[in-house]
Symmetry: C2
Subunit: 483 residues, 2 copies
């Protein structure tokens, strides 16, 4: 039997996460790593369909808060990049450049501030044009020099970037808070991925921003990864691109800007890592391309009868908005059970002679592995109820895991221990505002960890001294290992 045909999974997520992760990506056909360009992957149908559903929920949330979609070119002239000094400095090493075809020197977009904002210069004239809230779904390109990791760090990835312009700083700052709420609503409440909204240290801002708030979450190997980040761009870009508006008194002002960037492919990595178990993927009901799989159990001469009933049920499920499918492949039922468990489909029902005569199905629930009986007429109602409970359970489990992953540390050794225990360290810290402080250097150089920042969603008051230098602590900071 070829490796691709293996149907049982059984890899310990806890003990061998790295193996678990790369094996499940391939075996559940999320993606294929064998594309012959370093750092570029092929997303296979199962992965593409999950991402499609994740995009949909994100776009609904964006549109419901006044954002409109648009499509910008994938190429950006060098002259645009150069306009904001910090931005070009930060991104230049990661840019893929096109071979020159004429006078133009073109970059493949690593992010699209400098594409959007030259148009904002043309589109924004008056206070009536504000706020301007646009987003695009896009593939972006970064010439990563660090080791790439499937879905986590690639040279091409798939994201949404929202670019907003406002008349006042207050509105812009409010937007940053709204972005955090959107991450909470979509990534946490719908996809089940908990996170810490972290105001980044001064030295770790987005190139061209006043400040940056990253959404950090953790992988089972203790590595933190940054999910959607939101940036108060302030007036850096509006000054660089001369984006001015006339206020109600005809006075010209520069706009205040924010941008927000959820990377759907990277969030998928967290969805996989948080919810999966030793049997494979567990996909939240809200985003599973198949929410219920029907496995027909054939005996002699009953194939047509069983299939007819399966089709009838499937149609009823689809009509009531449940993504149901039937596995009609020529395989043993046991193989099919394992296969769909590995793919992470929330519910399975078997359909054989017994079920038909009783008009009752037994629903297998992927995460708890429990079985629940239900009469045919109540099935679609039951599945919806179970689907709702399924997602709530996944969120709760992820939350409990995440909460346990944050460790209060009273001194250097405790930080060291927390990090080696695959935790995020939380500790009193002198300041995240000073670039290149000795204390930050200690964490980053000595402990090989990253200062994630301070809470952006609430004020955490320090009550003691910096655990590194012993001076007065101004903040409570967080640190973790990153890939």
């Amino acid at each position: 039997m070829a490796k691709e045909d293996k149907i049982t999974f059984k890899i310990s997520k806890e003990n061998s996460f790295s193996e678990w992760y790369s094996e499940i990506l391939s075996r559940a056909e999320i993606l294929d790593l064998r594309y012959n360009v370093k750092g570029f992957v092929v997303i296979r149908p199962w992965g593409a369909m999950i991402m499609e559903r994740m995009y949909k929920l994100y776009e609904e949330a964006l549109q419901s808060t006044g954002h409109k979609p648009c499509i910008f070119p994938a190429v950006i002239p060098e002259e645009n990049f150069k306009k904001e000094a910090g931005h070009i400095k930060g991104f230049k090493p990661e840019v893929f450049w096109l071979k020159e075809t004429g006078d133009e020197k073109l970059a493949l977009r690593p992010t699209s501030e400098t594409a959007f904002y030259q148009m904002y210069n043309l589109w924004i004239r008056s206070w009536r044009d504000l706020p301007l809230k646009l987003y695009q779904k896009a593939n972006v390109f970064r010439y990563e020099t660090k080791a790439t990791r499937p879905l986590i760090r690639g040279r091409e990835f798939w994201w949404i970037e929202a670019h907003n312009a406002f008349a006042t700083k207050e509105e812009a700052e409010k937007q940053v808070q709204e972005d955090i709420i959107m991450t909470e609503k979509v990534m946490h409440q719908s996809f089940g991925v908990p996170f810490l909204p972290m105001k980044r240290p001064h030295w770790d801002r987005f190139p061209g921003a006043d400040y940056t708030i990253g959404s950090d979450t953790i992988m089972p190997d203790g590595k933190i990864i940054q999910q959607p980040s939101t940036h108060l761009l302030g007036q850096h870009f509006s000054k660089a691109f001369d984006i001015k508006f006339k206020d109600k008194n005809e006075k010209e002002n520069y706009v205040w800007q924010t941008c927000y960037g959820p990377a759907i492919s990277r969030i998928l990595a967290s969805v996989i890592a948080f919810h999966g178990d030793d049997n494979g993927l567990i996909i939240p009901y809200a985003i599973s391309p198949i929410q219920l799989i029907i496995i027909p159990i054939f005996k002699k001469n009953n194939r047509t009868k069983i299939l007819n009933q399966a089709e009838k049920l499937k149609k009823e499920f689809l009509n009531s908005g449940i993504a149901a499918d039937i596995d009609t492949e020529n395989k043993r039922p046991g193989e099919k059970f394992f296969f769909w468990e590995m793919k992470g489909v929330p519910f399975r029902i078997e359909l054989g002679e017994q079920e038909l005569s009783k008009k009752e199905a037994c629903i297998f629930i992927r995460d708890t592995r429990e079985k629940v009986k239900c009469r045919f007429p109540q099935l679609h109602k039951k599945i919806k109820q179970l689907g709702n409970e399924f997602d709530i359970r996944l969120i709760k489990k992820a939350d409990a895991y995440f909460k346990k992953s944050i460790k209060d540390c009273k001194n250097k050794n405790e930080i060291k221990k927390a990090l080696s225990d695959k935790k995020i360290a939380r500790f009193h810290f002198c300041s995240v505002e000073e670039s290149g402080s000795k204390c930050a250097e200690f964490i980053e150089k000595e402990l090989q960890a990253r200062v994630m920042g301070i809470r952006a969603d609430k004020k955490e008051k320090p009550t003691g001294k910096c655990v590194i230098c012993g001076k007065k602590a101004n903040e409570i900071a967080y640190a973790g290992k990153s890939y």
Copy 2:
């Protein structure tokens, strides 16, 4: 008043199509041509939202015929391109290359055969893996040297590409026919764009294909444009990429392949060109981001009352699946009427004191400019019915125009006249199989027209002689002017 604020349109589509087209793209905010890279445009929200709906209908049609979505990298190594000799020869002049970062020479995809098929080599092993039907939504890049035209010919455009592999030639040929049916079902029946399925002359095949069927349609200036094309790739690529499968007798064979490529952004050009009138766009009900716009008519002190009723109606429309919106801008009603007519929204209702007291609305219909009265409780039912009729009317009108645009020609002079009358010429022709025939040369060089090919959906039997050389005609061919 700035140009952007102009609200009336009034450009003659018939007499000055070129001006009409570029003005409406900008005034209806479909796109912006001022992006500072030649051949690259920005799609604004109104354009992006229409395209979103077009993509959705196309994807539903693809999925209902067994296609699954996937996402491939935007870069393709030169070595892949080189594998199929005809393909590299055909596409090489149009490829954007990336600056080399290492040993790899990477192209920005102009089309993705050579990306997909190296993976098909890995994914296809047995007859059980066939047919394999995958598609991706993608931006593609072509270094066009001819003049670019917004949505029609750009250096970046947005399409779907479907890549299918089969066990037999028969199945592959059947797929080509299915693709034509899909173009008919989606582009014609849903978007209202009529076309001729044209089997291309031998010398005008897709690089690497056995034969190509293009879907040609016409613009109001008499120029033909190619819409979705489908290609019987045969075994050219499967041999180049060594894509083999074991049949039921364990015998190894090369797969048979097809590909199909509807360019959504280019189809949008045809939607705009066919349906619009001198007042601006007319968007088919099926794909209009706003299907019904509600214009509140305020008098003193009734603002809240009117807006409450407008919100109530909007909610009811949305609940019954009608994309309704309210224009609450601080403008005169007349301005709003013209604005939404120009944007092409199918229906408009005004909502003032009179409508509220009568509980009756007057529905303005964009294409016929008729008004229909309807009581509030029946409104959503009525709009759905009118929406259906709206699209049927657009299709019929486009069909009648298209039919009139095809002219039977008995000799060279009649072809010449048809072309100068902005028509497609239909005529007896010796052969489209011979590369570089004198007759084709006459049409292409002397008349500066393009031999479109012969009908692919039916056999048209010639009864006379080739209108160019006077020898026996083997085919009935079509020719037209292209951009």
